[in-house]
Amino acid sequence: MSHLVVENRFWDPEAERLSREDLTQLQLHRLRETVARASRVPFYQKLFEKDGITPDSIRSLDDIRRLPFTTKQDMRDNYPLRLCAVPREQLIRIHGSSGTTGTPTFVGYTRNDLETWSGLCARFLVAGGLRPEHVVQVSFGYGLFTGGFGLHYGIERVGAAIIPAASGNTPRQIMLMRDLQPDVLIATPSYALNIADVARSMGMDPAGLSLKYAHFGGEMWTEDMRTEIERQLNLLAFNNYGLSEIIGPGVSGECGVRQGMHLQEDHFLVECLDPDTLEPVGDYEYGELVITTLTREAQPMIRYRTRDIAALDPCPCPCGRTGRRMSRVIGRSDDMLIIRGVNVFPSQIEEALLSVEGTSPHYLIEVDRPGTLDEVTVKVEVQPALFSDKMSSMQELRDRIERKIHAYTGIHVVVELVAPKTLERSTGKAVRVVDKRGRLG
């Protein structure tokens, strides 16, 4: 994709290039405002009173550690909108999660919240090549999901033309692309690959479509997927991150350097904590992102535990943006395994398997504690390309996978090669982990 480049432009150059000192001042000021706003929410009021927390008691950003955490369960307990800090009449939008993993959760927005949100989306869109003269196809669902409307208003703010294609009906999406020649695609990365597949089945070359840039979010994806999408659709792909509980897309996004997503730290105070001990992890180390909103009016969030695992990079970026960069989300802390005291994510094991050429991601992690020590067995389905009639080659393959997993996770596992299609596959999400520790018998 060397012929495609992106010029380094800013939407809000002053805010995006605040010095660390100014940023810290601004964050502290806004954190106090957030504590004041949150004090109007009965849930926070009770917690603050118990710990003697008032806006004035926040002296430095380190005082964030005195504040209570907020979890998804707290949102469910305060269903539907009892975490709102403003009267109902001040809300002008309500978004929410689908509730596929439990009670749905809702988030309210004031007019200022929507203004802020559009501006945050505009920042990462412009960093990733969006210009007022562009045409953008939004293939995100429009609805309770924050992706569609969030990006829509950000694009509108920049002044580009929007094709609100929404999700689904892929042949129609491709027809729109063929006839309206959009420059930019907004979608989930897996949907982009689906578009390429369907285009080919319609006898079209997806690389011949007019797209130049794409902004992806809404699901976990990998660098390999980026390479694949860029090759198939002949575009530059940018990653962005956000979650509805905080605001939606716009918490962070990539610049043209594309080595991490700049956190929009003037609007969010982001911590990276060990999900087990809740102590901060070091720079570049993986931990759970814990986010405090700094400007949200309708629904301020104090130390929201995102469950998303990523690492933070404080190193200055050549683009000039001063927001620290976060890595891709590599997993969910709910999936985290603690093996002999080491935090391990199934996604790390998956990456190790992918790095051994030809190994499919069909695997099963079994954790057991036969005596006093945790033992991990990773069952991997053998692929025809890796099969050999020589026992020495097969044992070498198994050893190679074990070494890779050790390199990626720091733990020793036993790799067991199994026949294809013998590992359980559920219709939806594959079963990846069986934890037998603590079971009787």
């Binding site: 053998v382 025809p384 099969f387 026992m391 097969m394 090669l417 199994v418 026949a419 294809p420």
Partner: protein
């Protein structure tokens, strides 16, 4: 002079060997010989069959992990020292045996040794130079 051998990945669990054998039986394919290498977890089944292409497709379609490799079959007298003689030649030629197995023909006093070498052509040349009878598919399947 090389013989096609079908290899198949097997988990080391009860019943796993009978599945491919049942498939072949139902398709009317006769197994000339087989060998099984195994570890605690998994094994590799190696099969010599005349209809190797059909067998390969059959097992592959059944979802098995299979591949085809070339092995060398040599014929020796079925008597003490028959194998040792061939092994001496291989050792002198500096050839490395990946694995081997043996079986006897039904109707005469000959034994067949099946060898897997990394460089089968060099092995054939070395064995033939010392008068070892390297047999091809016609003789192998004709006598089996």
């Amino acid at each position: 002079m090389k013989i096609k051998q079908i290899s198949m990945f097997l988990e080391n669990k009860p019943g796993r060997l009978s599945e491919p054998c049942r498939l072949l039986a139902d398709a009317g394919i006769n197994i000339v010989t087989l060998s099984l290498a195994d570890t605690q977890q998994f094994g590799i089944l190696r099969l010599i069959v005349q209809e190797w292409e059909k067998t390969y497709q059959l097992l592959k379609d059944a979802g098995c992990v299979v591949n085809v490799t070339e092995v060398i079959a040599t014929e020796v007298e079925d008597k003490p020292g028959g194998l040792a003689h061939v092994l001496d030649i291989i050792e002198e030629a500096g050839l490395n045996i990946e694995y081997m197995y043996a079986f006897t023909f039904r109707k005469n006093d000959r034994a067949v040794l099946v060898f897997r070498f990394n460089d089968p052509d060099a092995a054939i040349a070395a064995l033939q130079a010392r008068g070892v009878n390297v047999i091809g598919p016609v003789e192998l399947y004709g006598n089996a």
